[in-house]
């Protein structure tokens, strides 16, 4: 599957002629022969349809989870009652799909369907760790040149280290004090329901409209799997919902990259040569534009590998990408209204608050801020000298440790 074409095969309005053989972004609609304004209109319509299907799929997952568990939601996720297992489920699912947006959207749907927040919170944290696999894999492609690989692997793993440290701080805090659960519940109450004031009224009204629009398709999809008996019907709805989310996140990413590349370039140009706060803001803005932190963080790997951007410049950008990617779960939360809507919104806020708190604490405190930089620099150095370190890191953090933890907990 591809959404790129050799630059030489198309005409370009760019001021400088691109080198032959270089690739450029191509909208799926361009293959239908569209160009100019009709193409742009089709792209935006494609985005609208994509968001509609995303919300519908999340709604389908919520309904499917209810059908599958028959009101005892805990039973299906009993194996993940241990928060470390739930964390690893989030890591593995995100690493497998290479999309934290998919994990967070699915989690939002499951929470609305009855998944306890105590299981959802570590899963959302795990999504943060799992999503860092993508840019780490991209950096492996630079292994041919030792110096480039050292810089690229450091740039990729600074994201890993940041997210691991954030989880190491906030998961124990969550287990001890319920920091995220309480703060997200307060925020969800304040911005949803009938007695939450102006913001809640706006959110509630919007949710009702979206729910009304998406209900027919959700019902149709649920009906299409209704021939299955009992809980299997619910499981089929969940699987269908996950498949749709995966497809639509990919679809949205392809269209938004084409639509937003100019605006994203403007944002990045404006942030060059400025401080870390601007780096965070530009990382967040770009991720919101393309709806994928994997895209934005992977983008920086070749730029870091070539030495054009330093590790210190990449670092705040990846922190911003963490924050920007939370927008998808917030959009997904509009699939529900009423009590379900409040729960879905709370799950989305958990992801948002976790990433904001992590940025404030890990990046905000000078002592902690240095840790990801030092860890990534060290790992980049040893991995460039011996590739076994890089392999051990990728397989250990994203596959071995998660599987071992789940296995041990299941056996015990």
């Amino acid at each position: 599957m591809t959404d790129v074409l050799p630059q030489a095969s198309v005409t370009s309005a760019a001021p400088t002629a691109p080198a032959e053989g270089t690739k450029r972004l191509v909208s799926p609609f361009e293959r239908l022969g569209l160009s100019g304004r009709p193409l742009r209109t089709a792209n935006w319509l494609g985005v609208v349809v994509g968001v509609y299907v995303l919300i519908t799929a999340v709604e389908l997952i919520g309904s499917g989870f209810k059908v599958a568990t028959g009101g005892t939601a805990e039973s299906l996720f009993a194996f993940a009652a241990n928060p470390f297992v739930a964390l690893m489920v989030g890591v593995l699912f995100t690493a497998a799909t290479q999309s934290s947006s998919t994990t967070t959207s699915v989690t939002v749907g499951l929470v609305a369907g009855g998944l306890p927040m105590s299981i959802a919170i570590p899963m959302l944290m795990g999504a943060n760790i799992g999503t860092t696999l993508t840019n780490t894999l991209v950096s492996l492609g630079m292994v041919r040149d030792k110096e480039s690989f050292r810089r690229a692997f450091s740039a990729a793993t600074v994201h890993d280290f940041f997210n691991l440290i954030a989880v190491a701080i906030f998961l124990p805090l969550e287990l001890a004090f319920g920091v995220l659960q309480r703060s997200s519940a307060w925020l969800a109450d304040a911005s949803s329901g009938s007695d939450g004031g102006f913001v809640a009224t706006i959110f509630s009204g919007l949710g009702t409209v979206v729910d009304t629009l998406t209900e027919p398709l959700a019902d149709l999809l649920a009906w299409s799997t209704s021939f299955l008996p009992g809980a299997w019907h619910g499981v089929a709805m969940i699987v269908l919902g996950i498949g749709l989310i995966l497809a639509v996140i990919n679809w949205l990413g392809r269209l938004l990259k084409v639509l937003m590349v100019g605006r994203a370039a403007e944002v990045l140009h404006a942030s060059v040569g400025r401080g870390p706060l601007t780096g965070i803001a530009s990382g967040a803005a770009m991720t919101v534009m393309v709806q994928s932190s994997s895209t934005t963080t992977s983008l920086m790997i070749p730029l870091a590998g070539s030495g054009t951007f330093s590790l210190k410049q990449i670092y705040p950008f990846t922190v911003g990408a963490n924050i920007g990617t939370t927008i998808t779960a917030l959009i997904a939360a509009f699939a529900f209204t009423g009590v379900e809507g409040t729960l879905a919104l709370q799950a989305a806020y958990v992801h948002l608050l976790f990433n904001i708190f992590a940025a404030l604490v890990v990046f905000g405190m000078p002592l902690l801020r240095q840790l990801p930089l030092r860890g990534a620099t060290w790992l980049g150095n040893v991995a460039a000298t011996n590739k076994l370190w890089a392999a051990a890191w990728v397989l250990g953090v994203f596959v071995g440790i998660p599987l071992a933890l789940i296995g041990i907990t299941t056996v015990l």
Binding site: L25, G273, K387, A391
Partner: protein, 101 residues
């Protein structure tokens, strides 16, 4: 025996030395500023190619497979050199197209 320089001449030499130090410091600062501007210019130039970077910044499974092939070779003790020293997998991967692009 040479005659000791007069106090006025010493003062003049000190002034010249100070001017030279200041000039060297300024040159250092200018070089630093020039380097910074060159870096920024290179960064802007890369961002001008954002379209191309976004199109290519994705996981290349053939390269990932090549990387792990090399690691396996290394583990089996077939004398694979460290990364960057013309790694066989790197060369193998170099000839491949991005299979997912």
């Amino acid at each position: 025996m040479t005659e000791a320089p007069s106090p006025g001449l010493r003062e003049h030499e000190r002034e010249l030395a100070a001017i030279l130090d200041e000039a060297e410091q300024r040159i250092g600062e200018l070089r630093l500023e020039l380097s910074r501007r060159e870096d920024l210019s290179a960064q802007h130039a890369e961002l001008d190619r954002l379209d191309e970077h976004l199109a290519t910044a994705r996981v290349s499974w053939s390269e990932v497979r090549g990387f792990f092939d090399d690691v396996l070779h290394q583990l089996r003790g077939r004398g694979n050199p460290p990364a960057g020293d013309e790694a066989p997998g790197g060369l193998r991967a170099a000839g491949r197209e991005h299979d997912d692009a």
